[in-house]
């Protein structure tokens, strides 16, 4: 983007103009809720927390409230729909780390989801002859195994250009499904029944986590989403997050500035993969049955559509996108059959007309750059004569 403009070392009129131009270029990338981000940022910390707590409480109450119009009933059980939506939201959060933060296109995310599901199934289902461990232990195990697969796949491809990653992950997504079909130990279409669930029984002696009751699964997944969001938010603001955004914006420039791009790309890919595995394990537990039919490559494209629709690089947008992608076919059952067609076309239309998605990400690096620019300018103003400073800069980008 900025390869034609040389570096601007001295804060002068030209630099201010360039900064304004760049920001003007970003202007049309407002989402469907323009100004929401700014309004949010002007609120005090306490107010932000208050609103967040209210939102979280409402989210937890959703399965009990069963709000009319929004609900998927009749047609689909609302609690189970919520559980599926939360799994998709978690998937989108994970994929957003890969696609949104680091700008790597992972088209086989469903493979990691599948590996997670099979991990949960093969270590808990009575159909599997292997070691059995409690269900909750399979969650970290699934994360570890998918992270391993992520590194295995990432190391050869991430050294190369991004396109290779796209096709290799696309192939991987299909291969995992084929392997599940043709390797006898993975039981193909027969699959694994009675996948485990977290412990605990209610007063009647029934287990709390039943496959037919989505509410506890929804709460469990929602809690995990909140934890993952906190972790992802911290990562985003850390050195790692800045490195990812730098890689996304301009990989060569990032490399030249001393960012070890390969290392951070593998990190992004592995972290994204592990979240995919986690959501796969949750999915397996909720559905209670894993076979080779659930992990076709088209699901990968749904995941990608979730991230792109929500707003690439925005974790709140990812949650929104993920829930929407799961919700729309469940709510509007008439169009459920065409969901791949609709979301495939949506990908094209969004990329052409609204590349930011519903909730576009803040241009974080530019925001940092702006802060740094203002600091430098303030310093230069204090010591007149040190730079080629003209006094007319005040009207421009300076005032925030």
């Amino acid at each position: 983007m900025s390869t034609t403009e040389g570096p601007t070392l001295i804060p002068d009129d030209a630099a201010a103009q360039a900064m304004m131009d760049r920001e003007a270029k970003m202007k049309p990338r407002k989402g469907w809720f323009p100004g929401l981000g700014e309004k949010w940022n002007t609120l005090s910390r306490q107010k932000q927390w208050l609103i967040l707590i209210v939102v979280v409480v409402i989210a937890y109450l959703l399965p009990i409230l069963n709000p009319p119009l929004i609900t998927t009933e009749p047609g689909n059980n609302w609690q189970i729909a919520l559980a599926q939506m939360s799994v998709y939201a978690l998937v989108a959060v994970g994929l957003n780390v890969v696609v949104g933060y680091a700008g790597l296109l992972d088209l086989g995310y469903v493979a990691f989801f599948a590996v997670g599901s099979y991990t949960a199934a093969m270590f808990t289902s009575p159909d599997s002859p292997y070691v059995h461990i409690p269900y909750l232990w399979t969650l970290p195990l699934a994360m570890a195994i998918t992270m391993f697969f992520g590194v295995m796949l990432g190391v050869p491809t991430l050294r190369l250009r991004g396109d290779y990653l796209a096709i290799v992950t696309l192939g991987f997504g299909e291969i995992v499904r084929i392997l599940a079909t043709i390797i006898p130990a993975m039981k193909g279409q027969v699959g694994f029944q009675n996948v485990g669930h977290p412990p605990g029984t209610d007063s009647g002696g029934q287990p709390i986590f039943l496959n037919s009751n989505g509410t506890p699964w929804y709460w469990l997944t929602l809690t995990i989403i909140i934890l993952v969001l906190l972790a992802a938010g911290n990562l985003e603001r850390s050195r790692v997050g800045r490195a990812w955004i730098a890689i996304r914006e301009d990989e060569d420039a990032a490399e030249i500035m001393g960012v070890p791009t390969f290392k951070y790309k593998v990190w992004a890919f592995a972290i994204g993969a592990s979240v995919g595995g986690l959501s796969g394990a949750l999915f397996a537990g909720q559905v209670g049955f894993v076979n080779n039919q659930k992990f076709d490559i088209a699901t990968s494209i749904l995941f990608l559509a979730a991230v792109v629709m929500g707003g690439t690089g925005n974790k709140v947008g990812a949650i929104l996108g993920g829930s929407l992608v799961a919700y729309i076919p469940l709510r509007f059952t008439a169009i459920a059959e065409f969901k791949y067609l609709i979301f495939g076309a949506a990908l094209v239309l969004i990329m052409i007309f609204r590349p930011g998605g519903i909730l576009p990400a803040r241009q974080s690096l530019l925001a940092y750059g702006r802060i740094a620019y203002n600091k430098v300018k303030a310093l230069a103003m204090k010591k007149p004569g040190t730079g080629q400073l003209t006094t007319s800069t005040g009207k421009g980008a300076g005032d925030e």
Partner: protein
């Protein structure tokens, strides 16, 4: 915990469920027949791979929708031959009548594929090029278009494969190492090689070919030198479409019941693997890569015992190539190929 783990590990060993078995005997017995079959498939992969390679060379973009360009051609063949009363059993027609019908099907497939390629370019890629979108946007659009087309076909024709069409009965021609080579294999390999040599010569010698190489080398400089970049890009897509249409005819000839909405997808991944193996952007590399992927895939299939292993083996080859020699066997870059 440990006391539980050890007995269950022992159970793991003694279970009937196997992971992977190698059948070396089968490979030794069927070596030559799978070689010739592999070459036939490889010729088809190579034709499709050329489409990936050319577009990648010019635009530096993996055209994920190329597999749908290919499957459009397959439907072109299917509809033409259905209209001409071809059915599951071989037709009782004179030799020249069959040739005439097949040429007609070929023309329809080529037109359908080329048209689809141009539509994809105009609808999906050109708007992004005009607003200088980031690379990620191109890739996302590419995969989106691919799925939109795939599921439009699904919506229209349903999930099951179309009825099988046999074009002609393969007649045994000659015997090599105790394996009979039939007319079908010969037709596919010879026709594919002729098409590829023609493409290679076109890129190397013609004025348009020079334009394609110039744009591949440096689009801006090529534009300054008077090359119409947009026209060259569309031409590249058309060439890819034409070759995919031809590949479609051979594919239906080889696999009569292969016409299905998702039929292009996995073939596309294999063709791309072929392009990378030979050196992406390299026209001759696509031929070499295609034949190699066909061979390796077929050996893998015989060795491991299921036809679906072909896809897995091709994928593993792709990853290995990327680790060991990412520029491919013959080296990449369309622009650098000598005139």
């Amino acid at each position: 915990m440990i006391t539980e783990v050890i007995p269950s590990l022992i159970r793991t060993v003694s279970t009937d469920d196997t992971w992977i078995t190698f059948d070396v005997n089968s490979l030794a017995q069927n070596f030559w027949s799978s070689t010739f079959d592999g070459l036939t498939f490889g010729a088809i992969y190579a034709l499709v791979a050329l489409g990936y390679t050319l577009v990648y060379g010019v635009l530096n973009l993996i055209n994920f929708a190329h597999s749908e360009v290919f499957i459009t051609g397959c439907y072109g063949v299917f509809f033409t031959l259905s209209a001409l009363n071809f059915g599951p059993s071989a037709p009782k027609l004179a030799f020249w009548a069959i040739v005439g019908n097949l040429v007609l099907a070929l023309v329809v497939a080529i037109v359908a594929s080329a048209l689809m390629a141009v539509i994809v370019e105009r609808v999906a890629y050109k708007p992004l090029r005009q607003r200088k979108a980031p690379r990620l946007a191109f890739l996302i659009t590419a995969i989106g278009v691919s799925f939109a087309i795939q599921y439009t076909i699904y919506w229209w024709r349903g999930p099951s494969p179309e009825a099988a069409l046999t074009m002609f009965r393969p007649t045994p021609l000659f015997d090599v190492f105790g394996t009979i080579i039939d007319s079908q294999q010969v037709v596919i390999i010879v026709a594919a090689v002729i098409l590829m040599v023609a493409t290679d010569q076109f890129i190397r010698r013609s004025r348009t070919g020079r334009g394609i190489r110039a744009v591949a080398q440096d689009p801006d400089t090529a534009t300054l030198m008077g090359v119409n970049k947009e026209k060259i890009i569309v031409t590249t897509f058309i060439i890819g479409g034409v070759l995919a249409g031809a590949a479609a005819l051979f594919y239906v000839m080889k696999i009569p019941s292969g016409v299905q909405y998702s039929g292009g997808f996995i073939l596309g991944v294999k063709a791309f693997a072929a392009a990378v193996l030979g050196g992406i952007g390299n026209v001759r590399g696509a031929l070499l890569g295609g034949l190699l992927i066909g061979l390796i895939g077929n050996y893998g299939q015989v060795l491991l015992g299921s036809s679906q292993w072909t896809d897995v083996v091709a994928f593993v080859v792709l990853v290995l190539v990327l680790i060991v020699r990412p520029e491919g066997i013959l080296g990449s870059s369309l622009g650098k190929s000598k005139a």
